[in-house]
């Protein structure tokens, strides 16, 4: 494995499979145990550096590090020196001086983790950067798909929604392709980036045509404020054309699953009865997030497992 996990492309097929297998081993090791903790990273320091509010991702990483017995420091941009104008570089040098073994960074700016990786000696884990990537989300999604469907090779995945602004989409396209799955992006043309044709994915504007052909539907969060920038005419029209409701769910084949990275806009991109259905993996995704992040931290900091 590389020293940092900045984007899905940092993982080749062997690395990605190793992360998923390690997560499965961790799940097995902790299953049924009362004390859900491994001593692996005792004495190591993991810093959660969050420039953007993200309670669920931060908690997931925090829990992952703590279950590996690492010391965890949460460094949030709000109410810290960062909000007083300290630069990313100065913050990096501060963390470096404190001896952080890993820095988990969430940032509003695409590429910020790449810059950070130039300035610190520890491992940098990208926990979501701007509209670029969110590689651990892609790992937990792949883990969830493999758990439910038993494989990734040849699995057909539709990624539906605001691909243009989605770091989840970018990481999933990359990682799922690496792992042999076939991705179709479904969105209105305004929410697909110019240049999407160079991605290893099919593109469709027609959700109804795609649904019967896929094993996985991954719904992306669509922010209503995109409406004001004329990406689509209204929330209602978006929902009508690209929302996953009970009628559309009926077009899926029997074993197909529905995923969402959260937080959901119920009634916008996903209907409540879909989110709460047996096809939905949304709660599993949260649990799997902790195991896959444990696997990532373990492999980056603790070396290869036996």
């Amino acid at each position: 494995m590389k020293r940092h996990l900045l984007e899905a492309a940092d993982l080749d097929r062997d690395d990605a499979t190793l992360v998923l297998d390690t997560a499965a081993q961790i799940d097995q090791a902790l299953a049924g145990r009362e004390v859900k903790k491994l001593p692996t990273l005792r004495g190591r320091t993991v810093v959660n550096l969050f420039y953007e509010d993200s309670t669920r991702t931060r908690i997931s990483f925090e829990l992952a590090a703590k279950r590996l017995s690492a010391d965890v420091i949460n460094f949030s941009a709000k109410g810290s020196s960062v909000s007083k104008g300290e630069s990313l570089k100065d913050t990096a040098l501060t963390l470096e001086a404190m001896g952080a073994d890993a820095v988990v960074v969430r940032h509003w700016a695409s590429g910020a983790p790449h810059r950070l990786a130039h300035w610190v000696r520890g491992s940098v884990v990208n926990a979501g950067d701007g509209t670029h990537e969110h590689p651990t989300q892609a790992l937990l999604d792949a883990y969830t798909i493999r758990q439910r469907l038993g494989r990734l090779e040849g699995v057909r995945v539709a990624v539906v929604g605001d691909v243009l602004h989605s770091r989840v989409a970018r990481s999933n396209v990359g990682l799922l392709h690496t792992l042999g799955a076939e991705v179709t992006l479904v969105a209105p043309p305004t929410l697909l980036p110019v240049g999407v044709g160079s991605w290893p994915a099919e593109v469709s504007y027609d959700l109804d045509a795609v649904l019967p052909k896929v094993d996985v539907v991954m719904m992306l969060r669509v922010q209503a404020e995109r409406m004001n920038a004329s990406f689509f005419p209204s929330a209602r029209e978006y929902s009508r054309r690209y929302g996953l409701d009970a009628r559309r769910m009926g077009a899926l084949h029997d074993d197909a699953i529905v995923m969402h990275p959260g937080p959901m806009n119920r009634g916008m991109e996903i209907a409540a009865e879909v989110a709460d259905s047996a096809r939905s993996t949304i709660v599993e995704q949260v649990a799997n997030g902790v195991s896959t992040r444990m696997a990532v931290l373990y492999l980056l900091l603790g070396g290869s497992p036996q």
Binding site: L88, S110, A112, R115, H132, G195
Partner: protein
């Protein structure tokens, strides 16, 4: 005033000759000139070119003297072979009054390394709302002829039309920063395959091309001169070629970095490569080189844009756009145009001295290397190759996109009206 005998230089790359520089002018050019008492400059193997003229320099003074001053920028210019630079108006305060342009002009005179020619803002405060006092700047001691809101586009078509018309009264030219602002909200890099992958907001080529198309039509309609700053796309070159074929009075410049670098540089997320307009694709680079070679693009303009460390060592989106250019401009032109055989030395003189001087209506620059002409010239060692070391630059800033890159050509000497501003590759003050 010292008399100089430049021995054995090759004017415009031609046969070796001696050049006698006396009283600020070229006194004679010929074989084995004898000039007793003259200081001899050995120039065997060196190319002599007319002093370069930049239509597009940011000197940052007044306002950001921590990034560059008129003096440090002038020194960088002289080391790059320039004898005149146009100082852009986006200072703080903005150069939108006779007072500010005269201040910049006077600072240039005091530095005495190049002729600093102030550019006046087109609109008050670069806000794009109403015309600045263009006539007052034209009539000032700074004799402003080039007007630009560079950094901002004069986006309002009616205002642009009026500006084009108004400056005809004093033979001025509007230099447009062609960027339709509604198409580039939050833009970070060229919009294409790489922006899609990197998750950086795209700056579409059409945002530049749409403004150029509009403005050449306006210039044709009102019979005015238009200059287009930092042309960066293949489509822009096509539009300019079409406009020139119709007889529109349009000129254009390309930056050294757009001749050499592409949007692949953004993959590092290193903001030293962030610039406006952004680095484009290989196909655009090729079209720009072709356009400069056939004269569709008239000039190389550096868009030298110094920035303090804190404005560049940051997240990409947080960083200011712009890169240094004065000291490497000629080297980049040699690398991209001369060595591939697309421009000879006369062509370099034309695109980097003659035409920019004509666009700026500068007397005494861009003149032939001939007896009686002002001695504004440079001596170049075309065989030297060296890696660029930002720490060794004369600019006060370090944001060179060429750091570590080996480039050809070394300016050995620069003369401004017969006075050496650079000798042995070193600034003389």
């Amino acid at each position: 005033m010292t008399t100089y005998l430049i021995k054995g230089a090759r004017p415009l790359g031609g046969d070796p000759a001696d050049i006698l520089v006396k009283d600020g002018r070229i006194a004679a050019i010929g074989d084995s000139l004898d000039a007793t008492g003259a200081e001899v400059v050995e120039a065997a193997g060196l190319i002599a070119l007319p002093g370069l003229v930049d239509l597009h320099t940011h000197l940052r003074e007044p306002g950001r003297e921590d990034a560059e001053t008129v003096e440090t920028g002038s020194r960088a210019a002289a080391l790059g072979g320039f004898t005149a630079v146009h100082a852009m108006a986006n200072t703080d305060p903005v150069a939108d009054t006779a007072g500010v342009v005269e201040q910049v002009w006077r600072l240039g005179q005091e530095a005495g390394l190049v002729d600093v020619v102030p550019v006046g803002a087109v609109t008050v405060g670069l806000k794009g709302e109403r015309l600045a006092e263009l006539g007052a700047m034209a009539d000032s001691a700074a004799r402003v002829r080039v007007f630009s809101d560079d950094g901002h586009c004069v986006a309002d078509p009616a205002l642009m039309r009026r500006a084009l018309e108004y400056v005809k009264a004093f033979d001025g030219v509007v230099a447009q920063h062609a960027e339709e602002p509604r198409l580039t909200v939050g833009a970070q890099m060229h919009e294409g395959d790489r922006s899609a992958k990197l998750g950086l907001t795209g700056w579409p080529a059409a945002a530049e091309e749409a403004i150029i198309a509009r403005d050449v039509l306006l210039a044709e309609h009102v019979g005015a001169r238009l200059h287009v700053c930092h042309v960066s796309t293949a489509g822009s070159v096509d539009i300019l070629r079409w406009a020139k074929s119709r007889g529109v009075q349009v000129t254009a410049e390309v930056t050294p970095h757009h001749l050499l670098l592409t949007d692949a540089c953004a993959e590092s997320y290193d903001p030293v490569f962030k610039v406006n307009p952004p680095l484009r694709t290989d196909a655009d680079v090729e079209a720009l080189r072709a356009g400069l070679a056939d004269g569709t693009i008239d000039a190389v303009g550096t868009d030298h844009a110094p920035h303090a460390v804190e404005d560049k060592e940051s997240e990409w989106a947080q960083a200011r756009p712009g890169m240094l250019g004065l000291e490497q401009a000629l080297s980049v032109v040699i690398e991209t145009m001369v060595e591939p055989g697309r421009l000879d030395w006369a062509g370099v003189a034309d695109r980097m001295s003659v035409r920019p001087a004509a666009i700026g209506r500068l007397d005494g620059h861009g003149r032939p290397l001939a007896p009686g002409e002002p001695a504004n010239l440079l001596l170049l060692d075309p065989t030297a190759r060296a890696a660029v070391d930002p720490a060794a630059l004369a600019s006060r800033s370090r944001n060179s996109p060429y750091a570590g890159r080996e480039l050809p050509g070394r300016v050995v000497a620069t003369f401004l009206r017969g006075v050496p501003t650079v000798l042995d590759g070193k600034a003389q003050k």
